[in-house]
């Protein structure tokens, strides 16, 4: 059978300051009708760029410099804009990473759904509306008859992602590019979207390019996997071969990350005073309670992972501990001593003892200050060090986070990579010499290999300095890797808590069980088995709602 899409020697360049630099250095790709190809790699590997190039599209400041992209005999690189417009939306469709940002906020979902069929003359509006409703039903959206008549902001993220898949299907295209469609979703929602996408792609025999950085996800979706690294192909093989016996070292290193785990620590001795103790905290934004009677302890030298989906109250609990949001009822104790609820009433020493590391290192560092100034500021503020003493302490901290002081001291945050920025965030927290650090989703914006480096560093620092961590995350792989104790939260309540080993061995609370079983595994049959086990109507949000 001939190829639907054939890419040969594709080279793409990006412009920075008047010069064109290579982004993709000659990639080949073959896709047959009805086949699903997984493109996998870290950020900067060029996955999305290739995905868009497969549609003959490049973003501003990017150009295809060499090669051909042949779709059904038409070279999209050389085709006129009008010819490409005739294909886009009609025969090749796109599903973007963030459905919330990619739906136009000014129009109803159904109006955006019918636009491609009507504009391409495939269908009239009335029958396209009917078809849209039918697709919403197939994708198991709640209230399929009505949901299309809402505006994007009135629909949840997971539902929008499915509505976008329906929109891509509106002209029954031959090829769909899925660009990280589930990256921004919670695990229980992700599973639902994955199942819907797979089902509908199979039903209409649509070919697809599935772009993701998550190996376990791609294992469920793709027939073939292609691994990319900085614009070059590393290797390609069918999914089962790729998972069981990767050839290249880089691929093996990607696979190995998932096996990283710190050894569990012995149980806390009875009668030990916890470093931080959250006692019966109920907190509200305005008049609505968002936390309900939350209690847990955190001990010296240990890591407590607080797990839950978005909106479960993890970050709000952190705000109560730091005193940014004084609890309505309940108290926070530090080393057995109750802290003032409002951070403004806490002493400098009390403030020093608890520090924070943030999710987005990009926005948490002042872009106009050098690394030396960023870390030097808390050194001076809490430690009272100035001049050469301050400089020496900053150098010491930079060494602790494994960055060469002479190289980094005078750099600006914009001159660092994502992982390095997060290391600076860690050094800034350490500068206060705290006992306790809140890590708020610190690895969720990072690639797996880089994230693993950060987790290892945090572990070593804990062993050396006896720090205790409160680790807020929605990623259960991270929990498995580093936690000593786990607290599971849902709707502002603690559902279950205990040592990690207990938490990962059954029997669990039903919700914990749902969370755990929703994390994709590297087994290509995982999703199929899970769907059989739970039944298609009993996954994701539907399952959550039944609790």
């Amino acid at each position: 059978m001939s190829n639907l899409l054939t890419i040969r020697g594709l080279k793409i360049e990006g412009r920075s300051d008047e010069t064109w630099n290579p982004i993709i250095n000659g990639v080949d790709l073959n896709l047959k009708k009805g086949e699903v190809l997984g493109l996998i790699g870290e950020s900067g590997a060029g996955k999305s760029t290739i995905g868009l190039a497969a549609m003959g599209y490049t973003r501003d400041g990017v150009r295809i410099s060499e090669g051909t992209v042949e779709f059904d005999g038409i070279d999209l690189v050389r085709a006129s804009a009008a010819v490409k417009r005739g294909l886009l939306g009609k025969r090749i469709a796109y599903v973007a990473q963030s459905a919330a940002a990619s739906f136009n906020p000014a129009h109803k979902l159904i109006d955006q759904h019918t636009e491609a069929p009507v504009q391409h003359g495939v269908d009239n509006r009335a029958s396209s509306v009917e078809d849209g409703i039918e697709l919403y039903r197939k994708l198991r959206l709640p209230n399929p008859d009505e949901i299309g008549f809402r505006y994007p902001h009135q629909v949840s993220g997971g539902q929008l992602q499915r509505a976008m898949t329906a929109m891509a299907m509106s002209c029954r295209p031959d090829l769909i590019i899925f660009d990280e469609p589930t990256t921004a979703l919670d695990v229980t929602t992700q599973i639902e979207v994955l199942a819907s996408i797979r089902e509908i792609v199979e039903e209409f025999d649509t070919a697809a390019i599935y772009i993701t950085h998550d190996l376990a996800v791609v294992a469920q979706m793709a027939d073939t996997i292609k691994v990319l690294l900085r614009g070059d192909e590393v290797e390609e093989a069918d999914t089962r071969t790729m998972l069981s016996s990767p050839k290249e070292d880089y691929t093996k290193s990607l696979w190995a990350v998932r096996a990283f785990e710190r050894p569990a620590k012995p149980a806390v001795s009875t009668g030990a005073v916890p470093v931080v103790s959250v006692r019966n905290v109920t907190a509200a934004y305005g008049t609505t309670d968002v936390l309900h009677d939350v209690s847990f302890d955190m001990h010296a030298g240990r890591t407590v992972a607080v797990v839950g989906e978005s909106g479960s109250g993890k970050s709000t609990t952190a705000r109560c501990i730091t005193g940014l949001l004084p609890p309505r009822i309940g108290e926070i104790a530090f080393d057995g001593e109750v802290l003032p609820a409002d951070y403004r009433k806490r002493s400098k020493d009390q403030l020093r003892q608890a520090q924070m590391i943030y999710q987005m290192a990009d926005t948490a560092l002042n872009p106009r200050k050098t690394i030396g100034q960023i870390i030097g500021r808390p050194v001076q503020f809490y430690g009272g060090l100035t001049g050469s003493a301050r400089r020496a302490r900053v150098n010491e901290l930079l060494e602790q986070i494994e960055l060469e002081p002479s190289q980094y001291f005078n750099r600006l945050p914009s001159e660092l990579s994502g992982g390095q920025k997060q290391r600076i965030g860690i050094a800034r927290a350490l500068a206060a010499e705290p006992k306790f650090i809140i890590c708020d989703e610190v690895t969720s914006a990072l690639d797996q290999l880089v994230a693993e480096g950060i987790l290892r560093l945090l572990g070593e620092l804990q062993d050396k300095l006896g720090l205790s961590y409160m680790f807020i995350t929605h990623d259960l792989a991270t929990v498995k890797a580093i936690a000593d104790e786990v607290v599971v939260m849902k709707d502002g309540k603690v559902i279950e808590q205990g040592p990690k080993l207990d938490m990962f061995t059954p029997p669990h609370h039903a919700y914990t069980d749902l969370l755990l079983s929703s994390v994709p595994e590297m087994d290509p049959d995982w999703l199929t088995n899970l769907l059989q086990e739970r039944g298609v109507d009993n996954i994701g949000d539907a399952a959550v709602d039944k609790m």
Partner: protein, 328 residues
Amino acid sequence: MSSILKIVLQRLGLGLVTLFVVSIVIFVAVNLLPGDFAEAILGQGATPESVAKIREDLGLDQPMITRYFTWLKGMLTLDLGTSFAQLNFANFGGAGTTTIAEQIAPRLSNTMFLAAVTAAIAVPLAVTLGILAALYRNTAFDKAANMFTLSSISSPEFFMAYVLILFLAVLNPIFPSLSNIFDGMPFSERLEKSMLPALTLTLVVTAHMMRMTRAAIINLLASPYIEMARLKGLSPMRVIVKHALPNALAPIINVIALNLAYLITGVVVVEVVFVYPGIGQLFVDSVKIRDIPVVQACCLIFAAAYILLNLTADILSILSNPRLRHPK
């Protein structure tokens, strides 16, 4: 919908407070003007006695606060008072007095008419040019449109007016160069006579609105939903009109409102050039002879026009946002 109603009522309340503050500023500022009506009207025959007599007649000898509240009370009961100049003519056996309201009403309606004609030409023109400039950005068309509108806004109004008179009235007699409209004139003739001042004002206000339309649209072109629209194979025109424009309305509406307010309050020069009997001329004449009640009434009308148009712009901006129109 109730949340929108609440916002509208809040803005309306704030507008009234602003108007009250403005009334104080106007009153104080007008009273700080050097010279007074009595001296201005008596000229060389101003003896201290006759000046004092006129001041007493007009209530100008009262303390400022008393005069302010008298005036404010009049305003609140929609009684704009009587022009000093008119009073004076009455004293000298003139043909009876007209109130300020009667004096201002025809002028204001003339000004509104001119503003409406200008807006009807300028707003669609500016928005269309802005859309086209965004569509063909960085092309010769874009640059030419920008250059033309910028040069027209950068030249003094009277200069643009004379250029138009030269080309459209003298060299090619299409429109009359005098816009002396009066009551009872048929609409078509009125329109024809207002054409040149309206075109002059169009040249003055188009640049702002066009550049804001262009900028607001281009600002959105990097959004994911615009990329999505392109990847659906839609034509560039549809991408801009259907997908970018509805989300760019708020800033565009605000600039339009600002320019409309200018059309009501700032067109004195154009009125003078074309001898158009608008409120601007009345205002300037009243300042010249220190006819304080007329000056104050005009100022208050100008302020109300600004506040009302900005309020309308705010409300329209809110209505253009589906998040506020359709809460969760």
